[in-house]
Amino acid sequence: MRTTTRTRRPAAALGVLLIGAAGGVLAAWYGRAGNDRDAWPVPLLALVAVLSGVQGLRTD
């Protein structure tokens, strides 16, 4: 039980850190993008790209 707690705490902290970092990057991106229509889909495309990359592990 103690081992599980030890493992979960850093994982949860890392999760929060990653979500926070992603939120920060998004805010910075859209803050900079303004009304630029070409910049608006980029974060969504990046998310699709991450998913595609992860699925590529199947072929590694």
Partner: protein, 183 residues
């Protein structure tokens, strides 16, 4: 593993530059083309259409391993990073290629391709590093290597089993993207 992981983003950025350059030379297709493609590929990702996309038949030749393990791993990583010289990661990759052609500014292209490389490199590096750290305590070198191998294979096997669950998520994101680009 390090050269492989470094090669991935380099290959991805090289591929991004290639698509963007082609777009600059022959003209950037309009956004609705990417949106239309995203809608079609969402259906393909859900396997609602009997279309099987396998990507390029070209693979990094195994003979290139004569260049040395480190060099080969780097070349292999860069080839995977382009998304071209390997089996297709997922149908959404074609949307990324189309975006590379269509986006008129470089700033809108490279983050997308870098994200693809990170999606590919980070889980791979995490699994490899975890296997290495777990085996570090084993005194015997042979046992240590065997343990890394077993750990990594086990983790990859579990991840592979979970990957099909990502296809509907990818399809949903592609549909949202299609709406965004078609409106």
């Amino acid at each position: 593993m390090v050269t492989h992981v470094v090669g991935l983003p380099l290959g991805a950025l090289l591929g991004a530059a290639g698509w963007h350059l082609i777009g600059d030379l022959v003209g950037h297709p309009p956004r609705w083309v990417v949106g239309g493609l995203a809608a079609v590929l969402a259906v393909v990702a859900l396997k609602l259409l009997p279309i099987h996309l396998d990507g390029s038949p070209w693979r990094v030749p195994r003979e290139w391993s004569q260049l040395g393990r480190v060099t080969y791993a780097g070349i292999f990583g860069a080839a995977l990073g382009t998304g071209l010289a390997t089996a297709l990661a997922s149908p959404a990759l074609y949307v990324l290629f189309a975006w590379g052609l269509a986006a008129p500014t470089w700033l809108a292209v490279w983050p997308v391709f870098l994200a693809f490389a990170l999606g590919r490199a980070v889980p791979f590096a995490a699994i490899g590093l975890t296997g290495y750290l777990r085996a570090r305590d084993v005194d015997d070198v042979t046992r240590s290597y065997n343990r890394i191998d077993t750990d990594v294979r086990g983790s990859l096997h579990r991840l592979n089993a979970a990957l099909p669950a990502l296809a509907p998520v990818e399809a949903a994101l592609l549909l949202v993207l299609a709406v965004l680009l078609l409106t």
